[in-house]
Structure formats: structure tokens, C-alpha cells
């Protein structure tokens, strides 16, 4: 069982990490913009995108993404982690992207990255929706505080007030949000993995469930649980770096 988990887990970690990165890199600025431009079109746009991204079934979104971006437009590679031509060329040791980079195989790296973009984007939609909405609400609360008004009165540039002072204060809760979002993606990746023929832990647990392989299901679930605990611990440790009060 450990050998199986060691084989499937890196694929899920790669997918969830890419999705979370997308969610954070796009979701945080989107949330900030929505808060700054409250009740204007950027705010409406982010809220609508958040509403659409969250409830739409990932199964449907994945298939539609494949039809549009893979079949019709040809912008991304199709299902699977790697093109068939590269199958079995690289001995897996860690993650596929890392293996290819360490081996200096940039053609394989590029192909694997092209396969990762669509499933990570689809999965990242959920992370993006969640993170942008929470960032917006954190920022709205923060922008009402007196220290923000004082900073503006003192003539601090608006971008510095928003991106440095207000967002800086929001970073602590946002770290927890991002960590929990990462954990959720690990467990919710199973549908994305099914649609994209992604050989990850989510699909492995699902197929074990259908085969009534209780040990495998328990093993996979324990791994996801441990990752949740680890992420929680990691975000607590990050508090000390981000929040001066936590260091005292």
C-alpha cells in the first residue's frame, strides 16, 4: 500500500500545488481589487466569477474545458500527465516535473507542464473563487480601520496603503485560508483526476472504494488527513514570520 501511495501521491501533490498557486496568485489580487472597487464593475466581476466558479460541477467544467481548449482550440495537451510518445522514458522518483527538470529533459518538462495547465486551472477555479471572496471580505474589514484612514491622511500613496498596509494585515488569516484550500484540493481532486485520466491519489482512493479495498481507502484517507494536520501546523509556524505579535 505504501508503494502505491508513494506512486500516486506525487501526481496529486503536483496538481493541487499548481491549482493552489493559481488560486493564490490570481485570487488574492482579484479579492483586493474587488474590495478597493467595492460595488463597482471589478467587484461585480470578481463576485460573479466567484459565484460561477464555486458551484459549477468540476466534472462538467473539466469536460467542457477539454472540449474547448484541447479539442477545439488546441491550446493545451489532453488528458494524462504526459504525452504517449514520452511514456515510460523517465524513471519516476519524485514528481514528474521535478524528475524531468533534474534530468535536464526540458522537452518532457514542457510536455508535462502543458498537460498540467488545464486540470490545474479547472481545480484552481475553486481555490480562486474561495480565496478571492475571503480576501475581499478581509480587505473590506481592514480598509475600514482607523490606521488606514490615518495612513491616507498622512499622504501615503494609495497603492502602498492597500497592498502593503491593509493586505499585509490580512496575510495571517489568508495563509490559513490558502492552507485549508490546499488540503481541500487534495481530497476534491478525485473528479478532476477521473476526467483528466490523472493517476493521482484521489482517483486511487475512488477506485479502491469501488473495489471494496478497505485498506487502500483507509491508507489514502490517513495520508490526506496527515497532510491536513501538517498544513495546519505549517500555517501556524508561518504566523510567526508574518505577524510580529505572534513572535512576542
Amino acid at each position: 500500500m505504501l508503494a502505491d501511495i508513494a506512486r500516486f501521491f506525487p501526481a496529486t501533490v503536483g496538481l493541487a500545488t499548481a491549482a493552489t498557486l493559481l488560486g493564490v496568485l490570481l485570487g488574492v489580487p482579484a479579492g483586493v481589487l474587488a474590495a478597493v472597487h467595492r460595488d463597482r464593475w471589478p467587484d461585480h466581476l470578481v463576485r460573479v466569477l466567484g459565484l460561477v466558479g464555486y458551484p459549477v460541477p468540476v466534472f462538467w467544467l473539466g469536460l467542457m474545458g477539454l472540449v474547448l481548449f484541447y479539442t477545439k482550440l488546441g491550446w493545451v495537451e489532453g488528458p494524462g500527465r504526459l504525452g504517449v510518445a514520452f511514456e515510460d522514458l523517465l524513471e519516476p522518483t519524485t514528481g514528474l516535473l521535478l524528475d524531468a527538470a533534474l534530468a535536464g529533459e526540458w522537452e518532457i518538462f514542457a510536455n508535462a507542464l502543458a498537460h498540467l495547465i488545464l486540470p490545474a486551472s479547472i481545480l484552481g477555479c475553486f481555490s480562486l473563487a474561495y480565496i478571492s471572496r475571503t480576501t475581499r471580505s478581509f480587505m473590506l474589514a481592514e480598509l475600514r480601520l482607523e490606521y488606514v484612514t490615518i495612513a491616507r491622511v498622512k499622504g501615503v500613496p494609495e497603492w502602498r496603503v492597500v497592498w502593503r498596509h491593509a493586505l499585509g494585515s490580512c496575510l495571517v488569516p489568508l495563509v490559513t485560508v490558502a492552507a485549508l484550500s490546499y488540503g481541500s484540493l487534495l481530497e476534491s481532486a478525485l473528479l478532476t483526476e477521473t476526467v483528466f485520466a490523472w493517476p493521482g491519489l484521489g482517483r486511487y482512493i475512488t477506485e479502491s472504494l469501488f473495489d471494496a479495498d478497505t485498506n487502500m481507502v483507509l491508507g489514502g484517507t490517513i495520508v490526506v488527513g496527515c497532510v491536513f494536520i501538517g498544513l495546519d501546523l505549517f500555517s501556524d509556524l508561518l504566523y510567526r514570520l508574518l505577524d510580529p505579535e505572534a513572535r512576542t
Partner: protein
Amino acid sequence: MNKSPGFILTQLGLDKDKVEKLVKALDPKTLQIAITDDFGSSFVLSTLSANIASIVETNVVLQHEKDGDLGNGWLETNYAGSRAFVLRSWKPNESDVLEANLTFWRGAPSIKRVVIRHVPEPATQRLLLEKGDVDMARNLSADQIAGLAGNKDTVVESSPKAEVYYDGLNQKHERLRNPKVRQALRWLVDYQGTTESFLEGRFKVHQAFWPSGFAGSSTETPFRLDVAKAKALLAEASYPNGFEVSLDASNFYPSIDVAQSVQATMAQSGIEVNIVPGEQKQVITKYRVRNHPMVFLYRSADYLDPHSNADTFTRNPDNSDKAKSRPLAWRNGREIPQFTEKTDAAARERDPAKRLQMYLELQKIVQENSPFVIVFQVQDQPARRANVKGFVTGPFADQIFYLLVQKRGSRDRGLAQPGSPILAGPDPGIRAVACDAPRASDPRHPRAHFLRAARGRLRDRPGGTDRPRPRDRG
């Protein structure tokens, strides 16, 4: 010989203690197999055609022997033979890679490599096929097959499989023991409606235990959905208002869909069917100890002879709870000494024509009065790109032949394979091997050739290796 599929050979009198005496290599091209019972030659030859035993390179497998397993564990994921393709890698639930055996005795295959991808979602398989990133999709659903109609780049093949679906009626339940009730249930299945809608193409109506397309099969389909006739039979059986009964069905396609259809049609006669869905292993475990009232399952033949199914549908030498042999007739509690004798006699009959006639009679008996309502036969529908030809599937899940596959152009793609438990592992045929297998260290061996190519690409990255770039798509 002491593993479970070994029964196909042990029924001929072979076992692990006698095999060395009964099976002898007379010369490099002649194998003599002695049998200890008086079976007909057609039966014996059919059992030997089963893909359960292979000749392996003794020295190679014995090098990997562990705890006296004769290398059996190693062979699960490795190769030691000389068939048309060599198993290059096997990653469960991910992919298999086969490479051409350039020293194959019938000549090297025209394709150098077969990559089998595990693609659980049929819609994704279809997208891959239409895009041209795979050459074949093995398990498209009926709606996906219909969606390919009109696509000139793809072709859908169709071939019957030696697999039938049936309702099993446990004779330990009083109501289901009534012959009139069993007869009524045969008229309460919408055979045509289901095979013309959600099962279209993948299943066809078949009502005998031996699948059509094979010698000795009965193709008669006397039953259709007839609620009025079923109601009359139920009235004769003293159940004019029907009754309540449970139906076990696995969550494996298409069992639940068919169970729901049966539930709807039986409700028209007053029979209230409670579907008990379960994971396939659970359903079969319950079935094996006769704890089901009704069950919807399939029977896949073990070898291409009607005795393979007769042996389980019409033979039950001991109906007691402690019986050692537990065929389907036992699982449904059917005590049938007369048919057991008839089945044994058919296996021993030496006249092939008379023998097939005996099986036709047995099929008629099961069709008319037995605890089996046989409903469908499976049809394999592999879809392929139009430029790929020569792919052959046999009637069994482990009979898949890539030897004759030809592909126009030099593209190197894969074969999408679904998450069906039957096909998820490597093709057992791939591991079927012969004694003159070249070693992996032999420079003529295809594995050595591809290893060199792969290493060259990875380390030196020279141009013009055997492996095409992913954008080389015709």
C-alpha cells in the same frame, strides 16, 4: 496447478503431483498431454485453448523464484517469453507499455510499441480518440459510440463476447421456487427496450446460457416484455397482486441501470422489487453463500466450449450447504441430479455433432424452467482511428491481439483503456510465453533496443531516435 483458474486443466485429471508424468515434451516441437478421463476430443482441445497456462522460459522465471512460487509472483509484472510483444512496463491503474518482439517466430509485428493508458472516463476516451492522440478507445459507452456516428476519422467495430447477463433466483426463497413465478419473471424484462436505448450496441438480447456466435449456442429468444401474460402466470401461482422481493445488483455498469428497468417492468405486474446496490465484490460474496433472493450478474465463459457454461448452469453434484463445488446452479439452490448427469454425459460424448445437440437441449431446459432469467450478451465495441487496422479481440477479456495491427503513417500513439476491473491489469496474453524466449541481455532483444533509444534520448538527446516527438502527428 493449485491456483483457482487451474480447474480448467485439473478437470482433465492434471494436477501438480501428476503433471510431470502426464505432460511430456517428446521433442522440441511436440508436447504430449495425457488425460485421465474419457472426454470428447473437442472438449479437451477447447479447454487447452484457454489462456490460463503458458510455456515460460524456465531459467528466467526460476531466477526470480521466491518462497517456492516458481517465479509466479515475478511474472505478475514481468515477461519471460517470445510472443509478438514484450511487456516493457506495467503501472497498475496508469499504463502498460508493450514493445515488439523483433525475433517473434511469425515475423516481427508492424507496430513497434503499444501504449495502453488507463482512462476511466468514457467521455475523455472519446475526446482523445477524436483528437487523434490515441488510436483506439476500448470501452466507450453507448452514447459515446452514438456520438462518433458521422465522424469519418473513426470506425467502431463490434464483436460478440462470451459473456451473458442474467437474473439469478435463489430457490431457497419459497416464492421464487414456484415454477409459475419463475416463468412470469421471464416475461417481465424489457429485453428490446433496454437494448435499443441505454444498452444499444454494447448488449444484445440473448436468452440462452451459451453465448451466440460460438458452436453449440441456442439463438432462440422466445421471451419479450408481456405484462398480461406474466400477471396470468402470477395469478396461477397464487400471487395475483404480486409480492415484494429484493434484487442485488453491483454498482458496475450496467447492472444498476438494468435493475431499475426490471424494477419498473416488474412493478407493472405488482411485484415490488427493492434494489440492493453494492460493490461488486460484496454482491458476489453474498451470492456465493446463497444469501440473495434475486441477483443481477454476468457469467463470462472460461474457455470456448459450451461445457464451460453448462458446467455451472446445469451441473450441481451436491446441493448441500457444505458442498465443495459451488457452481451457479448451487448458488441459486437448484437440485438437479438429472441435468448434472446429462451435462457430464455431454462432456464425454465423442461425436462432436451429437455433443453440440446435447448442449442445445440443456440450454432449452435452462431457458424454459430454471432459476436463471438470461437476458443479454455483451458485445465488444472498440472504436479506432480509420488509419489503424488489424486489431483483433477474442471472445474473452484476455484475448487481445496486436500482432496484425497496422497503422498508416509513422505516428506513435496509445490505446485508451477504461477502468474496468476485468481489463485494468495487463493483458494476460502478453505474458503467454514460449521456451525459446530471447533474454533481455541479448542484443537482438527488442527491450535492449528500446532501452538504448530511451537512454540515448535522455542522456545525449540525439535527433532521430525511434521515439517520435509529440507534435509528430501526421
